[in-house]
């Protein structure tokens, strides 16, 4: 989707053949790799750190800091994994990269691997992604044929192999340690930290796991240089964010937004406003694990971390869901909690028991059998999950629940008292 502002990733016209190696090279593809291989690996890490690139997987952890923890040791095995297990509901931005710019990811992984002393890299892609899988596998095959992968490139002694690993679509596989456990062929139980994965990760070796979009930015950063990259976006959120917007919106899709873009303008102008001209009730900013914000709350905000975080939410994974006036938030929370219950891996106690418990409570409320204490129970379970689980999923479900309860408590109370929804249990947006 077209947007004003500078672009790092969506900077070409998508055509039926624009993902091919030929056209990628015509756009200047793999020239950045050649440039990068003339630098020292440490300089690339320094450049990425200087660029201030923040992780795009949801937690916005600085990429350079993650890389910095992994000190490449000559002779030691290191791994790189691209996290293409895009499972956060509402998020489908990585799919765009995998489908339309697979070579950008391959080139970025080559540069990253060179910087981190990696010889073997993995793309962990969720099993439901069919076209993205064929596109990325096709791109890797092309890169092997063209000599970018599998053997030393551009006269250096650096060579890289990339393996695409297809997951079976479990949400926790998108959690970095669950992801590598899955690659190892085991049930994707997330691991306790310490040790950090950059110390002991895949096959007990130091491993860097980055989101697809974070990695896709690397080529741009090296091409234009950190200084130039920092001019895009804001001081604290450099660069751009791919936002995948869905829900009750007129023009859903993936947009590349320069950080600092006014949020209301993005929704009203670039996305064409709400579906059927409806009024907007609230928006899920970045995947359902971030707290919802009402229309009034987002009015003064711009799309960047320093603006959204103080409002009590976050850009997260960029999976935005617009929700129209007249949507039943109780039913919405039911959908979310069904998802979390279904996807809890069942490893640690608070999440394993808590997700099922919250799901049973919300189901009971929707059946019209809710009791007033249920709201307190949902709060208590969310609080007991906050920070007590092995991975972030327990916290995430709590945030989502508390986010909705805080703002729409009256709808829950109405449902419990009257045994019916305030909005006919509607989730769709009527014309």
């Amino acid at each position: 989707m077209t947007m004003p502002g500078r672009k790092v990733i969506m900077n070409f016209e998508v055509t039926p053949t624009s993902h091919s190696l030929e056209e990628y090279r015509a756009r200047g593809g793999y020239a950045t790799l050649e440039k990068a291989l003339k630098l020292q690996p440490a300089d690339i890490t320094k450049e990425v750190t200087a660029s201030g690139l923040l992780g795009h997987g949801g937690a916005a952890f600085p990429v350079g800091r993650k890389w910095g923890v992994m000190k490449p040791i000559p002779g030691e095995i290191h791994y790189l994994c691209a996290n293409a297990d895009e499972g956060e509901p509402g998020t489908f931005k990585d799919r765009w990269i995998l489908e339309n710019a697979p070579h950008l990811l391959v080139e970025s992984m080559l540069i990253t691997s060179y910087a981190l002393g990696v010889r073997h890299a993995f793309v962990y892609i969720r099993g439901e992604f069919d076209l993205p899988y064929r596109r990325i596998q096709g791109a890797i095959d092309e890169a092997y044929a063209a000599g970018y992968l599998g053997k030393p490139v551009f006269g250096t002694d650096f060579a890289l192999d990339i393996v695409v690993y297809r997951g079976a679509g479990s949400y926790v596989c998108g959690e970095a340690s669950g992801l590598i456990t899955s690659i190892e062929g085991r049930k994707p139980y997330p691991r306790n930290r310490p040790p950090r994965l950059t110390v002991r990760g895949l096959y007990q070796k130091p491993t860097v796991i980055n989101n697809v979009e974070s990695l896709a930015n690397i080529t741009g950063i090296i091409r234009m240089g950190a200084e130039e990259f920092r001019k895009i976006g804001t001081a604290k959120s450099p660069g751009t964010q791919l936002i995948s917007i869905s829900g009750h919106i007129a023009k859903p899709g993936v947009y590349e937004v320069e950080y600092g873009y006014p949020w209301a303008k993005f929704l009203d102008e670039d996305c064409g406003g709400m579906l059927h001209g409806a009024k907007m009730k609230c928006v899920v900013p970045g995947g359902i694990s971030t707290k919802v914000l009402t229309r009034a709350e987002i009015e003064p905000l711009t799309l960047c971390h320093e603006s959204v975080n103080p409002a009590g939410s976050g850009i997260g994974s960029g999976g935005m869901i617009a929700i129209a006036e007249g949507t039943c938030m109780v039913r919405l929370l039911q959908v979310l909690l069904r998802f979390y219950h279904h996807e809890s891996c069942g490893q640690c106690t608070p999440c394993r028991e808590g997700m099922g418990w919250m799901h049973r409570i919300i189901d009971r409320i929707v059946e019209g059998k809710g009791v007033p204490e249920d709201i307190d129970r949902l709060y208590a379970i969310s609080a007991a999950n906050d920070g007590t689980t092995i991975c972030g999923m327990g916290d995430a479900a709590g945030y989502a629940t508390v986010g909705i309860l805080n703002k729409y408590r009256d709808e829950f109370e109405y449902f419990i008292t009257n045994r019916r929804s305030k909005f006919d249990g509607r989730l769709e947006c009527l014309a």
Binding site: N192, S344, G346, P350, M355, G356, W357, V371, A384
Partner: protein
């Protein structure tokens, strides 16, 4: 060595130790379900939370996976920690059936104890409990109640890290997760499988042989040594407490049987584990007993049999003794002192590996299926079991010798505890006591000596081997 403070007590712990290990070493208790000193750290039960002081105040983290650092300040019982534990106990008991009244684990259940210690309140849930399979047959030996299971994965890790059978795994996700055996039957064939019953912190894994047999508070553990092989694992033999014995007539069998066998932790021999054969050792010890002395198959008074044996020993020109490797060191020493000079002595294996039994592995099981071969050989030498053809008196002690090997015409004096056909073929037969009826020591293959203790009184008519040898020696010495 980092120095840290736990609950105001300054302790020192080796670098790389976790807070849990450091606290345990210092005698400070931190509750745990999933953690086990011999297994890897999964950190999934979340009950071992402790407070750690940091710049930003106190934050709560699990103790089992937190390495000690210099100057660390840890609280095991702060308000935050208590609140977290309470919440975790609410989660753990959420779908637990709390059917302690019919649960074999009741009385020695970690969940029961922790409920009183750390929660003590009703569930705040009003929803129905999630149901799962009950009485699921995990293997021919083990029954699983999935509703009681708290998914600590100790059993799964045991089969992966200790017994190496990889026989168990977790199936499904969330609160539908189930412990299940691998389809290839490796768990049913795992010779150490029953250890998962002991390490299960709740009553989910149950022994089929002990199922609903007794409430544990009616039982008493007696320290003993497993006679199943030359490892000599230390075990607890559980039998009815004397004060709770059943007084109705005909209850001797119930009062004097071994209800179950559990490992008695011993780092020098078996650690906290034993094999399944050891669990079933009650079947070996509980076989039908010989309780009357016999002369050529005819019941006789003990004193008459002793007199007959004395005269046989006195008359023998070349007496040979074949001693038992199931005898205690004390009995063997008594034999040597009383009759060692009169007999040439050979050591026999009472038991050989049975068909289908695991002969030897690199965990615990040894090929020599007798507990005290080392003790017997230390006293009587390593000579192979070959009876001289000119022997005219053979004293056989214990089962397992083929009487066909005894030279024709030689007189036989036989000591055995069990009711067996050979008993009637001996010229003189003495019934002897078994391990549970006396105190003693066994020396295992590595030279480690372990003690066993008497559980039951010796039945009337059964001889004590030590006294018997002295009685036999009195006549043999006097006749010379």
């Amino acid at each position: 060595m980092p120095r840290l403070t736990i609950d105001g007590r300054e302790i020192e712990a080796a670098a790389g130790r976790t807070v849990m290990e450091a606290a345990t070493d210092a005698g400070i208790f931190i509750p745990y379900f999933c953690w086990h000193p011999k297994l890897s750290v999964p950190g999934n039960c979340r009950i071992c939370v402790v407070g750690v002081e940091d710049k930003g105040g106190e934050w709560v983290e699990i103790a089992c996976n937190m390495p000690v650092t210099e100057g660390m300040v840890v609280y095991t019982n702060s308000e935050k920690v208590r609140a977290r534990r309470k919440a975790t106990m609410q989660f753990i008991t959420l779908n637990h059936p709390v059917d302690c009244g019919i649960c074999d684990k009741a009385g020695e259940c970690t969940l029961q104890d922790y409920h009183y210690e750390y929660n003590g309140e009703r569930s705040i849930s009003v929803d129905a409990k999630a149901h799962a399979t009950k009485h699921y047959s995990l293997s021919p030996r083990i029954v699983l109640d999935n509703e009681r299971c708290i998914q600590c994965t100790r059993c799964v890790r045991f089969t992966r890290e200790i017994s190496k059978s990889n026989g168990l795994g977790m199936q499904n996700r969330a609160d539908h997760s189930l412990v299940r055996a691998v389809e290839d039957g490796s768990f049913a064939n795992d010779p150490y499988s029953d250890n998962v019953i002991d390490i299960c912190p709740v009553g989910a894994l149950l022994s089929r042989s002990f199922l609903h047999k007794a409430r544990v508070w009616y039982l008493k553990p007696t320290a003993s040594v497993c006679p199943g092989c030359s490892r000599g694992c230390t075990v607890n033999l559980w039998h009815r407490r004397p004060e709770w014995r059943l007084r109705a007539p005909g209850m001797r069998a119930q009062n004097e049987t071994i209800d179950r066998v559990t490992p008695l932790e011993n780092p020098a021999v078996n650690g906290p584990w034993i094999c399944n054969k050891g669990r079933d050792i009650a079947k070996v010890l509980g076989r039908a007993r010989a309780e009357t002395a016999m002369l050529k198959g005819r019941p006789a008074e003990l004193q008459g049999a002793i007199a007959q044996a004395r005269s046989l020993i006195a008359a023998a020109r070349k007496p040979v003794a074949v001693v038992s490797s199931w005898a205690s060191n004390e009995e063997l020493a008594a034999f040597k002192a009383a009759l060692g000079a009169r007999f040439s002595v050979l050591v026999k294996a009472d038991h050989e590996p049975e068909p289908g039994e695991v002969v030897q592995d690199d965990i615990l099981i040894r090929a020599d299926k007798n507990p005290n071969t080392a003790g017997a050989r230390a006293l009587f030498g390593e000579a192979p079991l070959a009876l001289p053809p000119d022997a005219d008196l053979v004293l056989v002690w214990g089962e397992g010798l083929d009487f066909g090997l005894i030279p024709a015409g030689a007189k036989i004096v036989y000591l055995n505890a069990w009711l067996q056909p050979e008993n009637g073929h001996a010229d003189v037969f003495f019934p002897t006591s078994i391990q549970t009826e006396r105190d003693g020591h066994y020396t295992n293959f590595a030279g480690v000596t372990s003690a066993f203790t008497q559980c039951f009184p010796r039945p009337a008519g059964v001889a004590d081997a030590q006294a018997l040898f002295a009685a036999l020696a009195g006549q043999a010495g006097g006749g010379e």
